[in-house]
């Protein structure tokens, strides 16, 4: 179960917005993390560790930079809920063990709502509404359950499907 308050975004949130290009050259994710969503006032002023990001279509589009999900995870984002995710961001987040939730009604969720994600249900505690969420394909779910691709591979002793 994942619980937290929502920080909301629109459609097509690109990875340049999540972490600007000029910060990618910094030597560590810890060094980049303070610049996550640096031009989004709701994130910079309201976000606290454990919050859940809620967005529309195509979250994480653009650059392949894995630094984008990595800085979100480092800042303590508990999960990202969106109507859909861009492919490379999705793969990077799964590899890092950052939970991504696909929810067709994500746009109905308001700012600072209390969110509970449990199994295949998402509950907006502020409005009392319940939403269905899309299950992950079994192979992907196994990577997430392992905590990311590196622990998954360790478990498979680097001999299975990579």
């Amino acid at each position: 179960m994942i619980q937290g308050k929502s920080i909301t975004f629109g459609n097509n949130i690109d990875t340049d917005q999540i972490i600007g290009a000029q910060h990618l050259i910094l030597p560590s994710i810890a060094g980049m993390a303070p610049f996550a969503f640096e031009h989004h006032d709701n994130f910079t002023t309201r976000f606290t560790p454990g919050d859940i990001l809620v967005a529309g279509e195509n979250f994480g589009c653009g650059s392949s930079r894995e630094q984008a999900p990595a800085v979100l995870k480092h800042r303590g984002v508990a999960a990202v809920v969106a109507r859909s995710f861009a492919r490379i961001f999705f793969r990077n987040a799964i590899n890092l063990g950052l939970p991504l939730i696909v929810c067709a009604q994500a746009a109905e969720i308001g700012e600072l709502a209390g969110i509970t994600i449990n199994g295949d249900r998402l509950c907006d505690e502020t409005t009392g509404r319940q939403y269905g969420i899309e299950p992950l394909p079994p192979f992907i779910a196994e990577i997430v359950a392992s905590g990311g691709i590196v622990p998954f591979l360790r478990r498979k002793r680097l001999s299975g499907l990579v």
Binding site: D16, I25, P27
Partner: protein, 417 residues
Amino acid sequence: MNVIEKILSAHSGGETVRPGRIVSVDLDYVMANDATACLAVDIFKDELMADRVFDPGKVVLVMDHFTPSSSIAAADSHNRMRRFAGEQGLHHVYDGQGVCHQLMMERHVLPGQLIIGADSHTCTYGALGALATGMGSTDVAVAWKEGRIWMKVPEAVRITVKGLWPAHVGAKDLILRIIGDLTAGGAAYKALCFDGPAVAALDMAQRMTLANMAIEAGAKFAYIAADETASAYLRAAGRSGGRTFADDADARYERTLDYDVSGLAPQVAFPHSVDNVGAVTDFEGIAVNELFLGACTNGRFEDLEIAAGILAGKKIAASVRLLVTPASVDIYLRALESGVIATLVRSGAMIGTPGCSACFGGTGGILGRKERLLTTANRNFRGRVGSPESEIYLAGPAVVAASALTGCISDPRRIAS
């Protein structure tokens, strides 16, 4: 199987595959650049505890986003890449030689290959009939170690293009129009397969422009079958080989989209999303401050030549700066020797070191508050090239050159005639 499924099948043991199936595929190259390689090195060493890359001839490292190093952090990062390349005995390491994708196309990619790169525009290699896609640093680190990676077999969308190309209209205008129609996430996870007589008529430079921007509609792969144009390109580059694939009789596509370029106008994507596309005539008169001709989208000799044709004997507007960056040293030399660079410099252009340049803003060309950039690059995201209060407009080389003369977004069909 369709051609995408056949290439994936050929790299995963030869079994029949269908969309949605997850397969483990053998890779022909694994590429990373200076925006992504150091993170992959950390993961390779510290998390995977790996010693050796699977094949030092198949791991390619490119310094292109931040070279020549623009900060102490960039210089340190480049030195970490060089150290890793030395430890591993990598055969292909480039610094200041060009944008990673252009170098891959000029020196490495062959038809039928399967390649991943830690850069989203890796899909460019589909222009040569290869399958290639962008991934993050962890996937690249895993692939460095294993030489293979998991992939989901994508649905394929066929885009059939017919008609005769009008003057001053090219592949950039077509792909912007397609992205405008599909939307920024409209081809998410899919392979975009381009065919038809208007695609067959394109030279390799324009095919690369077309394939390069498939990711801007969310696509996983772009694909254009390798034909005689592709063979001639490879011969000129001193390469041969590869493998060509074709659809089986039962090949299935999720859908087919038809385009006719005959009536296509030059297109522009306006801020702050690549699918925000309209004809140049909708934007004429918007004043710009900076113009950029370059990037893995449109930094090839043919693009520079188009611009030089429009700018020859003229001066750019006093109100603008024009940055031109050839996408590779080979392009740079050809443009020097043919006089194209001299024409551009005489018109007022600044010439940059081959690399990502003002597409990424890692080495210069940064925008100030309220400034507008008109660029041949592939992304117009807010703040990508500087101030979050700046604006980025995307277009092809003819629109950029015509607009440099006037200082505002201009229709090359009017300016150049």
